[in-house]
């Protein structure tokens, strides 16, 4: 990531991050021919024990960052699996207390699609609309709670617009109604300080590759006191205290542990730096006509800025910005032509939803990168607006809503 030879500037840290060199160095100890290897589940020899000790050390690091007990950390193959395990696992296990679930329309697909699956199984799901700034109105959430509600799933930081939900307040409301509270923290761990020993959260999903750790690795926090019970989704072998079977890669677990350890150490200074970069970016763009920040500006994770450039279509803008690695919407849906469902849920109109770009900055982003980015973005938007009939109409003072469009 550090060699800059003709490479696009990477501003897609919310999609995935490069692995930190220090993380790689730890992982390498468990890879290669002279490495420490062994199946951590092997109980009969020191290869297995050494691997197991490394796994437990990593579990401690992960727990430390978020203020959990290591026994509350279940390793998985990634945040998608963690979300699936939390939502389907909790809903299935607690089916006797009810079959109603509450989530939000701006959740990650892993949460929404898990809920859809439960709907197919006969559960009822309420999908809350967020406010225009992307945040959830606590009163609306409380109003949606029912006696048969067993689970609320709300993400901590949104992957597209970066807004931070007040999980403490939401958690308290859930506790009052004895509802299990799951939080997808794939985008917040290591970026937003948290202490699970005090937070009223029962289940929390983590990803390694969003915070400079390896892909294919995640974890689920499962609170012990009071104990949250789950039905396993992956069977065979009874690894991870029966909650997640299958041999997980020792080197990847170690990598995740090291990534979390570094994040704990550097979070405060890194956040300060990223907020400066974000301000630099916004300061360089905000005087343009018809640009809008999506999501609350202040309740926002440090490295994220999501902007709609009105009357410019997002995909053509990405194409014009080929020297920047950025995304419109989330990476998981960017192969489709749909406008971002997150922005639609905020009530953004079609043009704005189609014209959004997510800039996500991280550990290796420099002030010079942002300078270059501002230059590229300004010229690309100008070029495309010159090409845009909608821009013409806006300039001519025509209200686009007054036109009867022939949708195809």
């Amino acid at each position: 990531m550090n060699d800059k030879t003709n490479r696009p500037i990477y501003l897609d840290y919310s999609a995935t991050t490069p692995i930190d060199e220090r993380v790689v160095a730890e992982m390498l100890k468990y890879m290669g021919s002279d490495a420490i290897f062994g199946n951590p589940a092997s109980r009969s020899h020191s290869y297995g024990w050494t691997a197991e000790a490394a796994v437990e050390q990593a579990r401690q690091h992960v727990a430390d960052l978020v203020g959990a007990d290591p026994r509350e950390i279940v390793f998985t193959s990634g945040a998608t699996e963690s979300d699936n395990l939390a939502i389907k696992g909790a809903a299935h296990f607690n089916v006797k207390s009810g079959k109603h679930i509450i989530t939000c329309k701006t959740e990650h697909k892993a949460v929404l699609d898990s809920c859809r699956q439960l709907e197919r199984e006969g559960y009822e799901v309420t999908y809350l609309d967020p406010e225009q700034n992307g945040l959830i109105d606590l009163d609306k959430l409380k109003a949606a709670m029912r006696d048969d509600t067993t689970l609320v799933s709300i993400m901590h930081v949104n992957n597209e617009i970066g807004v931070i939900q007040d999980i403490e307040a939401i958690g308290k409301a859930c506790r009052q109604r004895k509802i299990i509270f799951h939080v997808d923290a794939a985008q917040s761990a290591g970026k937003v300080p948290m202490n699970l020993s005090e937070l009223p959260v029962d289940l929390m999903s983590f990803s390694a590759h969003k915070i400079y750790g390896p892909k294919g690795m995640g974890a689920l926090y499962v609170q012990r006191k009071p104990r949250v019970r789950l039905e396993a989704q992956m069977h065979g072998g009874g690894h991870e205290r029966g909650m997640r079977s299958g041999t997980l890669a020792t080197h990847q677990i170690v990598g995740m542990g090291e990534a979390f350890r570094i994040a704990k150490e550097e979070m405060a200074t890194e956040n300060e730096r990223l907020i400066n970069l974000r301000n630099q970016l916004w300061d360089g763009l905000k005087d343009m006509e018809e640009v809008y920040v999506n999501g609350d500006f202040d309740q926002r994770v440090a490295g994220n800025l999501n902007i709609s450039f009105n009357y410019v279509e997002g995909e053509s803008l990405l194409m014009a910005l080929k020297d920047l690695a950025i995304s419109s919407g989330s990476a998981c849906t960017s192969a489709s032509l749909e406008p971002s469902y997150v922005l639609r849920a905020l009530g953004r109109n079609d043009e704005l939803a189609h014209s959004s770009i997510r800039f996500s900055m991280g550990r290796y982003t420099t002030s010079k990168d942002i300078e270059t980015t501002i230059k590229h973005v300004r010229s690309a938007v100008e070029k495309l607006r010159n090409l845009s009939p909608l821009w013409d109409m806006y300039k001519d003072g025509i209200d686009l809503n007054s036109i009867k469009w022939a949708a195809h």
Binding site: Y311, V312, E313, G314, E315, S316, M319, A335, L337, P339, N349, D350, E351, H354, N386, L387, S388, P389, L390, W391, D392, L400, W405, A406, A407, H408
Partner: protein, 126 residues
């Protein structure tokens, strides 16, 4: 997805970008698509007394393939009669630009645009 070379060429150097006076009797205007769908194409033709398209301009809000389809179309219609222009098929555009299946609708939109422009012109002269 990776774009074809011809798409990139038209996208980087779009031909005949511009706007004619919509109310001019010699101008036919076709505006198709919708912001909701992520693309809006405006194609305008200038027709001479012999019924031949003398000039054509476009502006497009949409992805690179939509921009390329309309840019290519303006090149193709120049010098054609209205009937000849109407005979241009989306498949010809798609083939020339090597559009992938998910982008075929862009060429359909371009075909709609030329048809709409010709209709507009004919309406004015009916």
């Amino acid at each position: 997805m990776a774009y074809g070379e011809k798409v990139l060429d038209h996208y980087e150097n779009p031909r005949n970008v511009g706007k004619f006076d919509q109310n001019d009797a010699n101008i036919g205007t076709g505006m198709v698509g919708a912001p909701a769908c992520g693309d809006v194409m405006r194609l305008q033709i200038k027709v001479n007394d012999e019924g031949v398209i003398e000039d054509a301009v476009f502006k497009t809000y949409g992805c690179g393939s939509a921009i390329a389809s309309s840019s290519l179309l303006t090149e193709w219609v120049k010098g054609k009669t209205l009937d000849e222009a109407k005979a241009i098929k989306n498949t010809d555009l798609a083939e020339e630009l090597a559009l992938p299946p998910v982008k075929i609708h862009c060429s359909v939109l371009a075909e709609d645009a030329i048809n709409a422009a010709v209709e507009d012109y004919r309406k004015k002269h009916a």
